[in-house]
């Protein structure tokens, strides 16, 4: 990579980091109760014995028990979905791949619907919905992997096709369940469209280990994915254990995605668009795309969530709607300015 290319990457990283900082501040400051940034910073310092907090107990609760966990969960979800999407695009060498490709979304959707409709016959979404969603997501990917390619002998195209089959099967089962119980249909829809509204420190702690490990694995696989851009046979001849690498990164992306989906529902668009925007800006190497996608995805989702919870306050827009509403124009804009690599 030449010097101007390196400068471009530095610029993109700097802008992304600035965006991340803005997202963190906005995620804490913006809301129906106006609380200034400096008073929040003052409160932070007071905890380590410097100065005194000017926050009322109510304000402190709003910041540290509502907005902060929601913001952090948004960072984790955005980072994980973006890096998983980028990884899938690399490992399947398919620009249309997103984290839900192998049935994670359909499996989680079915699991959550079962929890909400069948067993949770009450009027609220049961607290163990995430557990069933998580199980459904992992179960779906496992079935896809077994059907698509007898373990290590899976090829990208058989896996994608098996994913399509498993996803449509589970989605139809989910739709049937959802239609059969009209009184819970709204709650199912709310869950399906994704929301950070139920975020708590507990949900943050639940997904954090998955996101941390899986993100590290995906980012570390960047070099392997770059080698894999010359195809399976050639990368094997270059010394890459292609099948083991594929199994490892698909497992990591799917596990991380399943954890996120079970906590926040199905948030679309982040996983497919963020890595593409990053690719248009910094080139085709996954060693650059993946780490920058982590930062960009985190920032993007928190900003989208801020829009989702403020634009029609006091009610909220579904997060999945906002990610597409904000993301699509941004993507089209960047696509029209920066052409993808010549082909």
């Amino acid at each position: 990579m030449n010097l101007s290319g390196r400068r471009r990457v530095t610029t993109v990283v700097a802008v992304t980091l600035a965006g991340l900082a803005v997202a963190v501040v906005v995620g804490l400051v913006v809301g129906p109760t106006p609380i200034g940034l400096w008073r929040i910073v003052g409160d932070l310092f007071s905890h380590v014995g410097i100065g005194h907090s000017t926050l009322t107990p109510l304000e402190s609760t709003i910041i540290w028990q509502l907005r902060a966990p929601r913001m952090v969960l948004g960072l984790l979800a955005g980072a994980m979905l973006a890096v998983a999407g980028g990884t899938y695009q690399g490992v399947f060498r398919n620009p249309l791949a997103d984290p839900y490709l192998l049935g994670v979304a359909a499996g989680a959707g079915l699991g959550a619907t079962v929890a909400i409709v069948d067993i949770g016959s009450g009027t609220s979404t049961p607290t163990w919905t995430p557990l069933l969603a998580f199980a459904g997501a992992l179960g779906a990917v496992a079935v896809t992997w077994v059907v698509g390619g007898r373990g290590l002998r899976a090829t990208p195209s058989t896996l994608i096709l098996a994913g399509v089959a498993v996803a449509s099967l589970l989605t139809s089962a989910q739709t049937y369940l959802q239609q059969s119980s009209t009184d819970s249909i709204t709650r199912v829809y709310v869950w399906l469209l994704g929301s950070l509204g139920t975020a708590s420190w507990r949900s943050v702690l639940l997904v954090l280990p998955y996101v941390a490990v899986c993100t590290v694995v995906c980012v570390a696989a960047g070099r392997a994915l770059d080698v894999m851009s010359v195809g399976e046979d050639e990368s094997r001849s270059l010394g890459l254990p292609v099948r083991r690498v594929r199994l490892l990164v698909v497992a990591a992306s799917s596990l991380g995605t399943a954890a996120i989906v079970s906590a926040v529902g199905l948030i679309g668009f982040v996983g497919i668009i963020v890595p593409h925007v990053v690719r248009l800006l910094v080139g085709t190497s996954y060693r650059r795309i993946l780490p920058i996608s982590v930062l960009a995805g985190a920032a993007f989702l928190v900003l989208a969530d801020t829009v989702a919870r403020t634009i029609v306050a006091p009610s909220e827009l579904p997060l999945g709607v906002v990610t597409a509403l904000v993301g699509a124009p941004v993507f089209v804009l960047i696509l029209s300015v920066r052409r993808p690599a010549v082909r």
């Binding site: 990579m1 030449n2 570390a220 696989a221 070099r223 392997a224 770059d226 080698v227 851009s229 010359v230 195809g231 046979d233 050639e234 094997r236 001849s237 270059l238 010394g239 890459l240 254990p241 292609v242 690498v245 080139g283 085709t284 190497s285 993808p340 690599a341 010549v342 082909r343």
Partner: protein
């Protein structure tokens, strides 16, 4: 010493033998070319030697080590491959592409070291690719592209190189140019080459030895000049071939009438 030893090799796919009971050895630092009609099993054979095919029966050893028992990484330090239809990943610079050849040396978690880049830049200079070093791989012409793929294989610094129809789609000058570059690596670097080639005249000119493959079996195996002049060649290709000597070089000329199989 033989760098490549193939013994009784059979490779099956789709219910039939693509290669059956093939045995051959390639002496270290020499060039052996596999010839034969389409569908004779040439590609299967060289891919098996490169470790990319599941072996049905027999064995392949490279530098004295059984190819099936080597890890992908260990094997990639012994044998490199120039495929028939290399994938050209858009957006990658030529220097990065050639550096892919160093993957087995630096591993997946660490990047290319200073030594790796020294090897890469040395290869770029040897193949006169240095002026393209920062160009996107898709902007190269066919000849430059094929030289770049050869560069990646050379950067692998392996004692054995396998090439599958490396000059397909190149004009005459670029064909000769590429083969001359390879010949230099054999003569000066002690590289062992196993290649497939369709052009029989070029095959005869550049290889030390020719092996004629037909229906997955070895029909002829010998000095290039002898194999080129053998009547078996016409039988394998199912057409009359004539050899004409032009300034000391054997030129294989196809006749237009089909040889009667009786």
């Amino acid at each position: 010493m033989n760098a490549v030893v193939v013994t009784g090799l059979s490779v099956r796919a789709g219910g039939r033998d693509l290669v059956s009971d093939v045995s051959l050895g390639v002496e270290s630092g020499t060039w052996c070319t596999i010839i034969g009609p389409n569908g004779a099993g040439k590609t299967t054979l060289v891919e098996a030697v490169a470790g990319l095919r599941r072996i049905g029966a027999g064995s392949i050893s490279l530098e004295g080590r059984a190819v099936g028992e080597l890890s992908e990484r260990a094997r990639a330090k012994i044998v490199s491959l120039v495929p028939q239809h290399p994938e050209v990943p858009a957006g990658m610079a030529v220097r990065e592409y050639v550096a892919l050849g160093r993957t087995a040396h630096h591993g997946l978690l660490r990047g290319a070291s200073v030594r790796d880049w020294t090897v890469v830049d040395g290869v770029l200079r040897r193949l006169a690719l240095d002026e393209f070093a920062q160009r996107d791989v898709v902007t190269l012409s066919g000849g430059e592209r094929q030289r770049m793929v050869l560069g990646r294989a050379l950067a692998q610094s392996t004692p054995v190189m396998v090439l599958d129809e490396p000059i397909t789609g190149l004009d005459m000058r670029h064909q000769i140019e590429l083969l001359e570059l390879l010949k230099k690596e054999v003569a000066q670097g002690g590289l062992t080459v196993l290649a497939t080639l369709h052009d029989l005249t070029l095959a005869g000119q550049f290889a030390d030895r020719l092996v004629l493959l037909d229906h997955g079996r070895v029909v002829l195996d010998g000095r290039a000049a002898d194999v080129i002049r053998s009547p078996e060649l016409s039988v394998a290709y199912e057409m009359a071939l004539r050899v004409v000597e032009v300034d000391g070089t054997d030129v294989v000329v196809p006749a237009r009438t089909r040889l009667d199989p009786s």
